[in-house]
């Protein structure tokens, strides 16, 4: 069974963030996703105004995600040593950006309600 299992992958993330923080993050991600789906179904359309603010927040999410991972792994930007490192950083940034956009959109929808 020399395979990477889903369990191993979970263990890696627990290792990076610590067990408690990792599972809190998973719960938070699930809650935000459910809330996002809820507002989409409730509103029956995507609000472009809310979406604009969500888009504007994406760079903040990207930077925050990269800084977060670096702090957790004793790393700095100067440690980027090759193309593959750049790809990893960009990947983390993309995930952070999308996560932030969903979070901001959902938060607006929940706080302001259906009306614009």
């Amino acid at each position: 069974m020399e395979q990477l299992t889903f369990g191993t992958l979970i263990a890696v993330f627990e290792e990076i963030f610590g067990g408690v923080l990792f599972w809190l993050m998973v719960v938070a991600a699930v809650l935000v996703t459910v809330a996002y789906l809820y507002v989409l179904v409730r509103d029956r359309s995507v609000s472009m105004r809310k979406f604009l603010l969500a888009q504007l927040s994406m760079p903040i999410g990207a930077v925050a995600a990269v800084v977060f991972v670096q702090v957790m792994t004793h790393s700095q930007l100067r440690d980027i040593g090759g193309p593959v490192d750049l790809i990893v950083v960009l990947g983390i940034a993309v995930v952070g950006a999308i996560g932030m956009a969903i979070l901001v959109y959902t938060a607006q929808s929940l706080l302001r309600g259906k009306s614009e």
Binding site: E2, T8, G82
Partner: protein, 437 residues
């Protein structure tokens, strides 16, 4: 060809936690039906090798009487010691309970092996029990011979600028106390390695690179003079890696002292004496990192299991380098540090050795020959500073065997390789202990 592909694929899965390994996660090979047997199997040592093998054998065998001997209640994640000794992790990072990793159905005896009789096929324990076996797996690890360094004792570690990270989690933490003081105050740092075979020959280099980096960041450039004392004329057993390390040393301003083997320490005067081809050489230090000579435990050497014509001062078990089976006693296998094979005293080696022994052992129980071969693969995420490492993988023939050629270059200092060492390795190691990776 299929086998080659599987080996490559699984190695990728092992090393490639960040490189899209999720696809591999969905693939689980069919589990072969368990073999019915009443064989008595004794495993000496519940470290990385013994524990991993026990977990795998329990899956493969039905009815086997498996006993594992280990006097230590604490299991050590030894790859973490380098991080503890650089202040990056607490000592608790490397510690867990031995019993927690063992499957039910295996009896753990918390005693050491005191005698092995390979003819009568028995193991005597330190508590006076005698265990008869049909198959014996010897995996007790190795012994650090601190007494071989004149003037040195473990109680010195942590004060007076002396470190010794190999000695265990507490000593690794004390090593950081001494090393961090050196980083702040500056001075001369001497980093040594023994002339014997040793656990993870990359670790002396990692400690040198890490403390050099931390020292420069802490007190600034130009306040430290770092010397690496190599045991011979190279810096690493694999020539191409040695050459790369030489270049990195030049870049960092680290001086390589070739053929300097630490012989004695005068802790009061802060002078280390090295045996060199030109006779003894004395060097003053403000920080000295000691890694003592390493040998097989006495019980191995006294039971006649060691090589008679190789490593005679160290006593590693005489095994076939491809199957890890004893050359004179076919019902005995050796795994991990104690195995008398070139290279391979690392957890990554163990990862590749255990399935080979499992294959041959289960085949022997079935009355046929195993087919798995160990090619000497090992890997060393060679840390070159906080935040970067080189993912070096190689085999018996000193060939580099990169898992991701063209993506993760073996001789390139990369952040992703650091991430593997710092965060992915322990999770993978734990999965290996459970027999799952």
């Amino acid at each position: 060809m299929k086998e080659l592909f599987e080996t490559t694929a699984s190695r990728r899965a092992f090393m490639g936690l960040f490189a899209g390994g999720v696809a591999a996660a969905a693939v689980q090979p069919a589990v072969a039906q368990a073999v019915q047997t009443s064989a008595r199997i004794v495993i000496i040592g519940a470290g990385a090798a013994g524990t991993s093998l026990a977990n795998r054998l329990v899956e493969r065998l039905d009815g086997a009487d498996i006993t594992i001997l280990d006097p230590s209640a604490t299991h050590l994640y030894q790859p973490g010691l380098s991080l503890v000794a650089a202040g990056l992790k607490p000592s608790s990072y490397t510690e867990s309970q031995t019993a927690d990793w063992l499957p039910s159905g295996v009896s753990l005896i918390t005693e050491a092996a005191a005698a092995i009789d390979p003819v009568a096929k028995t193991v005597g324990t330190s508590g006076g029990q005698t265990l008869a076996y049909d198959f014996l797996v010897v995996a007790p690890g190795l012994v650090l011979d601190h007494d071989a360094i004149e003037g040195f004792s473990l109680d010195m570690v942590g004060s007076n600028g002396i470190g010794a990270l190999y000695a265990g989690p507490q000593y690794a933490a004390k090593t950081w106390e001494a090393a961090s003081k050196f980083a702040e105050e500056g001075g001369v740092g001497l980093f040594t390695r023994p002339a014997t075979e040793m656990k993870c020959a990359g670790a002396p280099l990692k400690h040198t690179f890490l403390i050099d980096d931390i020292a420069k960041r802490t007190a600034g450039e130009g306040k430290h003079e770092i010397h690496y004392a190599a045991n011979n004329n190279s810096l690493f057993g694999v020539p191409i890696v040695s050459e790369k390390v030489r270049m990195l040393f030049e870049d960092r301003g680290i001086t390589a002292q070739y053929s300097h083997v630490l012989k004695s320490v005068d802790a009061g005067a802060k002078i280390a004496t090295f045996a060199t081809p030109e006779g003894d050489a004395e060097m003053e230090y403000d920080y000295l990192h000691v890694i003592p000579p390493q040998r097989a435990p006495d019980v191995i050497r006294e039971s006649g299991l060691s090589w008679a014509d190789k490593w005679t001062d160290q006593g590693w078990v005489e095994v076939d380098m491809k199957t890890l089976r004893h050359l004179r006693y076919p019902d005995i296998f050796a795994l991990g540090d104690v195995a008398g094979v070139p290279k391979g005293k690392t957890a990554a080696s163990v990862k590749w050795q255990v399935p080979v022994v499992e294959d041959h052992l289960v085949a022997a129980i079935n009355g046929n020959e195993g087919t798995a071969i160990y090619d000497g693969y090992t890997s060393c995420p060679l840390i070159t500073r906080v935040g970067r490492a080189m993912l070096i993988e190689f085999d018996y023939r000193n060939n580099l065997t990169p898992s991701f050629p063209g993506v993760i270059a073996p001789l390139e200092e990369l952040w992703i390789s650091w991430l593997m060492k710092e965060v992915a390795l322990k999770a993978t190691y734990n999965a290996m202990l459970r027999g799952k990776a």
